[in-house]
């Protein structure tokens, strides 16, 4: 009896003690309470209470401001602890928009590690501070971004032409340089978002002409048309997130859209990346990823060696610098595209979704960079990737000298059915103008001018049977029996045979392609005799007989 009574007493007392302890811990010892207790505003100490930013429209209830008090609504003046730093001025006041919309993390949690997503298996960890601007991608899309060379040129043009003397852009320039004759001009950091006066240059010139002295006279000079294009590119891409734009331009330079779709535009061979930034680190394998288990780390390693991170991936390793890998990671993390209520849909998203404006600039270099560079290489010299048929060099001067625009157009528009080259003329990829622009860009990849074709498209009258014999002995080693393709391209392809002129085929065999295994067949080589003009015509006649893939 006494033993049992004592047992009851002691165990009850201990339970009570633990419960009181747990309650005290839950209610008084929380880190945010200690932090708020240090807080001072102009009126004295601040009340210690759970603070939160609620925005039902965005689905946000962020308690981050329980520690980051001075970022909360109406509490900018709170000070006293290291964490009480007002948010740097941004268009979206965190007191309205909350924190997790941009930064990710767990808004409702009230402990630091939980809130920042530093716990194991948290599906949406906070974006690393260096990648905060990737959060813009939750709602925004940057439109009309060019590939990186042009973007760089545009940025340099803005600097070279001393526009910074008067204009402040992304925290640079403006009246900090009065010695250059500058004055306070409009801030241009957001011209890509809010639009700008397309007549600016004419108006600038007029004002400059009217002025007798002062900044308008001293600091402004008329700009040439090339530079004007660059400046327009620059202005169209100012969305107050320069890091994001330059990361996007890297993405648009390595042909990623050739295989991946973003917001419904791009190829079909790889996974859709529209929401790749929300990828759950718990749903991917970190088996071959050294370092921490962060999504940024996974992506960076994936860009370095795709197949070793994702087993069976055919994605080529992006042969780029560490900085570019960082930017690709940054951009992929920014691919969030949250579903939003109409009132919160930003203009750029509306322009993209409702008015068909595209995320990339429509010039040939950018289109080539976005859609073609992945396989044909940024310089057009083709790529050889393990496990895949090698991708032909389209910048080869021997090719460009004899390939008519019609051939290039057909090839891009229809592709090579049954081969890796897809048809690009379609609603979710390129339009007819784009194809023209791409061809114009391809022409610039080599100095070779297109030669005129003296013949009609079909003029060869050779002996196909003789050509067949020659083909098996001379060509099939690379091009496969019946031209089905091997190490070299397939020649029995319907689209190729329909769009290639006889001149193109004959000249290709005669000249070969310098720098490839296809040498000139007019010259003998150690492994075969030279062909004569009639041999070549017989071969072309044989190739013509392969039309439709038949032997």
């Amino acid at each position: 009896m006494r033993k049992n009574k004592l047992l009851l007493l002691i165990s009850s007392a201990a339970v009570l003690l633990l419960l009181v302890g747990a309650a005290a811990e839950e209610n008084y010892l929380r880190e945010w309470r200690r932090i708020q207790a240090q807080g001072r505003s102009d009126e004295g100490s601040i009340p210690v209470q759970l603070r939160q930013v609620v925005n039902p429209g965005l689905g946000v209830a962020d308690r981050c401001v329980s520690c980051h008090v001075s970022m909360g609504p109406g509490e900018q003046g709170v000070r006293g602890a290291a964490v009480f730093v007002p948010h740097k001025p941004v268009v979206h006041d965190p007191a309205d928009y909350g924190c997790t919309v941009c930064h990710g993390g767990q808004g409702q949690a009230t402990e630091k590690s939980d809130a920042h997503g530093d716990v194991h298996f948290w599906p949406e960890p906070m974006l690393d501070k260096s990648m905060s601007y990737a959060g813009c991608g939750t709602c925004h899309v940057a439109l009309h971004v060019p590939e990186q060379a042009q973007l760089r040129a545009a940025e340099l043009a803005f600097e070279r032409l001393d526009c910074y003397s008067c204009h402040r852009v992304d925290g640079k320039g403006g009246t900090v340089r009065p010695d250059q004759g500058g004055m306070e001009g409009p801030n241009l950091s957001r011209t890509g978002l809010v639009a700008y006066d397309k007549e600016w240059h004419a108006k600038h010139t007029a004002k400059s002409a009217a002025a007798s002295d002062g900044p308008w006279k001293k600091a402004f000079r008329a700009v040439g048309s090339d530079d004007l294009t660059l400046l327009d590119t620059f202005l169209a891409t100012r969305v107050a997130a320069p890091q994001l734009v330059s990361a996007k331009s890297v993405f648009l330079s390595y042909g990623c859209l050739g295989c991946h779709k973003v917001s419904g535009v791009g190829g079909d061979d790889g996974p859709d990346l529209t929401r790749a930034g929300f990828k759950d680190p718990g749903q991917v394998s970190f088996e071959h990823v050294p370092g921490t288990g962060s999504m940024a780390n996974w992506m960076a390693e994936h860009f370095r060696a795709p197949a070793s991170v994702v087993v069976g991936s055919q994605m080529p390793a992006a042969a780029v610098s560490e900085n570019e890998i960082r930017q690709l990671t940054f951009f992929t993390l920014s691919l969030r595209r949250k579903e939003l209520r109409d009132v919160y849909l930003p203009k750029d998203r509306i322009r993209a979704a409702k008015f068909g404006e595209r995320e990339f600039s429509a010039d040939g270099a950018t289109l080539y960079g976005a859609f073609c560079a992945g396989c044909h290489g940024a310089d057009g010299h083709g790529r050889r990737l393990s496990g895949l048929v090698s991708f032909p060099s389209i910048a080869n001067p021997d090719f460009l000298a004899i390939a008519p625009d019609a051939l290039l157009t057909k090839t891009i528009e229809i592709g090579r059915p049954g081969r890796r080259m897809p048809a690009w003329l379609k609603a979710d990829a390129l339009n007819a103008d784009d194809v023209k622009a791409v061809i114009a860009h391809i022409r610039t990849l080599s100095a070779a001018a297109i030669e005129s074709d003296p013949h009609p498209p079909r003029w060869v009258k050779g002996d196909a049977a003789e050509g067949k014999r020659l083909f098996s002995s001379t060509c099939s080693g690379c091009h496969g029996s019946y031209g089905a393709g091997g190490e070299g391209p397939a020649l029995n392809n319907k689209v190729l045979l329909e769009s290639a002129t006889d001149h193109y085929l004959v000249e290709t065999i005669k000249r070969g392609r310098r720098g490839t295994a296809m040498s000139s067949f007019l010259e003998p080589s150690p492994v075969r005799p030279a062909l004569t003009q009639s041999d070549i015509e017989n071969l072309v006649a044989y190739l013509r007989s392969l039309q439709g893939g038949k032997s």
């Binding site: 009896m1 165990s11 767990q106 298996f121 394998s285």
Partner: protein
């Protein structure tokens, strides 16, 4: 005389003042439990307490009699019940939402983490307490007449307890849950091992049917989740409550706790802790309820000398165990969080995918034969357990720890053998492999019949037979066999929990696992 307004008001105020006292009086109609009589009426006048006898034998209150394990099981269940109902306020039984809601409970809901931890720890403690309670009942031979039926109820409770714990495992819908349940479902399907070997799966497929019944679809998905949820929060708790009701009621009907025939003598030899008067000044007879009950009751036909009123003696003890259980759960909950891994992903199997810990002994055997390890041997064990009271009809040693022929020395020997046999077999298998490694083409049916699990069972059975002959007693054989199985369960569970890594390969510690 008509009362004046003033008098009526005074009466009203007097009544108002008397409300607390009157409420107590009407709730406990027989007055404060200060005499033997009122203590008795206190017990049988209360719907919950009257499952207890009004008087309790002092032997039952000795700590060594039961170690409070039965009450501990109930207490753990009660804690799990209360915390479980609390969790239901936030839990949503749909695949993605389930995971999100557990995340919310864990990270956002005030005290949610503590409640979830309490639920998890009380559930685990319940499994442990139920197993230990069964061991206690076995080792004190409490299953013997007249308690045979209650032993069966106890086995039912064990199965339902494991079922409750197992069904709760899926609900967080994380990787851990998903793959543990996938393993469980595959075990349910394991009769296919036999039907496949016989080539009759197309016509007779009890394995596939069991799996389909459990999952409601071909794979662990939304249907499985809602099934497990319903089983976990509704069907199994109701079944458990019903079985528990019978179990408690039978304790009383079967004469309270088992005690040795000489319990009274032993108690008289010890100094009395206190000298409560057995018959107090209230002359009313305390046994009037017992007298009208037919059959065996706790006290009919025996001297009341060694009994004490259940109120308060027994209730102090029971409450004490409840509080100790709560204390243990609370302490564990405050220092150790319930696990929550990444969202379930059917395309990325966990490696190793492990069942809940109490099934890891089975999983260890399942590695060789899903049917034998997951269904065959557990069924043999359960049937064996159920048969014990009907095979052992001896009387020697009832109510004494390790009572019966052989006694503690036999149990000691059984522990040695029970531990040595699985350790040796496991070591052999880990070092040299098993039939499949030696003869890759051996039919699975051969492995189903001849695997470490069946070998171990055979060794134990042989040893048990030997004990029956050696001691000339079924109880001796039961002691040996039960001890051996308990040890085997322990060894296999430890191996499965701590020494098995990816692909169920042996590792000395998880730090040696191939790096992720």
């Amino acid at each position: 005389m008509t009362p004046t307004t003033k008098d009526a008001l005074r009466e009203f105020s007097d009544n108002l003042k008397a409300v607390p006292r009157r409420v107590m009086e009407t709730a406990f109609r027989t007055g404060p439990p200060t005499t033997d009589r009122t203590r008795s009426t206190f017990v049988f006048g209360n719907v919950f307490l009257h499952l207890h006898a009004v008087r309790t034998h002092r032997w039952s209150l000795k700590w060594t009699t039961t170690m409070g394990l039965g009450i501990m099981s109930v207490s753990a269940f009660l804690i799990a019940l209360v915390t479980g109902v609390m969790l239901m306020f936030y839990y949503k039984p749909y695949p993605e939402a389930a995971y999100e809601s557990i995340k919310d409970i864990h990270f956002v809901v005030p005290t949610g983490r503590l409640i979830r931890n309490l639920h998890r720890w009380s559930a685990n403690l319940m499994v442990v307490a139920v197993i230990l309670h069964m061991a206690r009942a076995f080792y004190t031979a409490a299953y013997r007449k007249p308690r045979e039926y209650n032993w069966l109820m106890g086995i039912g409770l064990l199965v339902v307890t494991l079922g409750l714990s197992f069904t709760g495992y899926l609900l967080p819908w994380d990787q851990l849950a998903y793959w543990a349940i996938t393993i469980g479902a595959n075990i349910a399907q394991s009769p296919r091992e036999i039907t496949d070997a016989l080539g009759i799966t197309d016509y007779f497929d009890p394995g596939g049917f069991q799996r389909l019944l459990l999952l409601g679809s071909d794979m662990v998905g939304a249907e499985a989740l809602i099934r497990f949820y319903l089983l976990h929060v509704m069907i199994l708790p109701l079944a458990l409550a019903a079985l528990m009701g019978v179990h408690f009621w039978r304790i009383r009907k079967d004469g309270g706790m088992v005690r040795p025939a000489d319990a009274d003598d032993q108690l008289f030899r010890q100094p009395r802790e206190e000298a409560l008067p057995i018959f107090t000044e209230a002359p009313a007879k305390t046994y009037h309820l017992a007298a009208i009950v037919r059959g065996r009751t706790s006290n009919v036909g025996r001297g009341p000398e060694n009994t004490v009123p259940s109120m308060p003696h027994l209730f102090y003890a029971e409450l004490g165990v409840l509080m100790v259980t709560l204390l243990v759960c609370l302490a564990l909950s405050l220092v150790s969080d319930a696990p929550l891994k990444e969202l379930a992903n059917p395309s990325v199997p966990e490696n190793p995918a492990k069942a809940p810990w109490y099934f890891l002994g089975l999983q260890e055997m399942v590695a060789f034969s899903a049917f034998m390890g997951g269904i065959g041997i557990p069924s043999i064990v359960l049937i064996g357990l159920a048969l014990i009271p009907y095979l052992d009809r001896e009387t020697e040693g009832t109510g004494r720890w390790f009572g019966g022929p052989g006694g503690w020395p036999l149990v000691r020997l059984s522990i040695v053998l029970g531990l040595a046999a699985p350790i040796l077999i496991e070591s052999f298998v880990i070092r040299f492999g098993w039939l499949r490694e030696w003869f890759p083409s051996v039919p699975q049916l051969v492995i189903t019949m001849l695997n470490p699990g069946t070998l171990l069972t055979a060794v134990y059975a042989f040893f048990s037979m030997w004990c029956i002959r050696r001691y000339g007693s079924t109880r001796a054989g039961a002691l040996a066999l039960f001890t051996c199985f308990l040890c085997g369960f322990l060894v296999l569970t430890i191996v499965g929990t701590y020494f098995r890594g990816p692909n169920w390969v042996f590792y000395w510690s998880p730090s040696e696992w191939p790096k992720h």
